[in-house]
Symmetry: C2
Subunit: 226 residues, 2 copies
């Protein structure tokens, strides 16, 4: 009951936290200046987290108050804790929702394909079996069939960041003059790629890559290397 | 050179201004409290507007400074005129860009099909010929072929407003506590449907419909009826 715990899907090495949604919550917690215990779990552990009732991560346990869904976690942290606002200014919740929707519909589907082989290979065997079955259900395709499309998706992926590039050419942060949860959402999405692939997604001159590094530095997140 | 003029595509009746992008500019001008002269044009008139150089509307002539593109017009009005801000708070430009992208990619393509027959029928014959050729180029289909898909698209259209409905369930305005250009963009998009169809798109209880009426009332826009 004491502190704050965040449950996070993790590679078999216990080190590489790869879930984009967990990363959104990690940045939100850091943004609020909160100490927390990051607890790595496997797919098999999820039904047992915090007594059950969750089927995905992140799960936040805030001194006994348990909740899932990264956006819900951000709203809870904003309401329950002082510290810098996650939604600094009018319309910031709407902005964050739109960024989330944009990531979910435009960026995540190709990223799912791009990283599929590396995600699979970083898991322990029981998680690999779970992951294979889940991909088959969601995409109607095997890990190997999806992996065969990876290079094609990767070649076109930078174009899909056009909207974010346009925004980040005109301002330092997605949320505007200061970072907010809208930044955390995009960061989580791209960090998922970075953790899985261990390499930058974009050239160093790309405004999105420059923002990604700025965001990592701001929240003291070491950049993953392969 | 005296005042402000806004050039707007108009039905053959000279009354029904149907372009979603022009409506964005109309609301932005009203938001800033600016007087302006709304100048109806046909497709055939566009190459002659303000001495030429434009191939679409809106075109704004602000005391001799001429520019197109509704977002560019909003940025110009914000920079050049006092009055209430079109981007009230941090991140509001980013929010407006995301709403624009959402409208352009999720809402406008089905709306183009839903309203195609009524748009065509409200034009004068030269504009009809222009419109037919433009639809054929863009969709590879005739007005009649597109119109045959109209009812199917209309049946599913309310679902496509899910994101905006979620936002407008939690707050009165897309931009947050007060209306801004993010609202004008969505209004323009739905007003395009309203002007063409002369009837509400959604049920009176729908939070998006309630916002649409609130927005029309706020800017003193009479609601079109068929």
């Amino acid at each position: 009951m004491g502190g704050i715990a965040l449950y996070s899907l993790c590679a078999a090495d216990g080190v590489r936290h790869y879930s984009p949604h967990v990363w959104k919550a990690i940045l939100a917690l850091r943004h609020k200046g909160l100490e927390f215990d990051l607890r790595p779990v496997s797919f098999a552990d999820i039904p047992r987290i915090a007594g059950g009732g969750f089927d995905s991560v992140p799960v936040l346990d805030d001194r006994g108050h348990r909740l899932g869904d990264s956006f819900g976690i951000a709203l809870h942290l904003e309401a329950a804790h002082s510290g810098p606002s996650l939604f600094p200014g009018a319309g910031q919740q709407a902005l964050a929702r739109l960024v989330e929707h944009h990531c979910d519909t435009v960026l995540n589907p190709p990223l799912s394909v791009i990283v599929v082989r590396r995600m699979h290979d970083m898991m322990d065997p029981p998680d690999q079996a779970h992951f294979r079955a889940a991909r088959q259900r969601r995409f109607g395709a095997s890990v190997e069939e999806l992996a065969a499309r990876s290079a094609g998706e990767a070649a076109h992926f930078p174009e899909k960041l056009a909207l974010m590039r346009r925004i980040l050419t005109g301002q330092d942060w997605v949320a505007g003059e200061a970072p907010g949860f809208a930044d955390h959402i995009l960061f989580g999405t791209l960090q998922w790629h970075r953790i899985c692939m261990g390499a930058p997604l974009l050239t160093a001159k790309d405004p999105v890559e420059q923002w990604f590094r700025r965001c990592a530095a701001h929240y003291a997140i070491p950049l993953a290397s392969g």
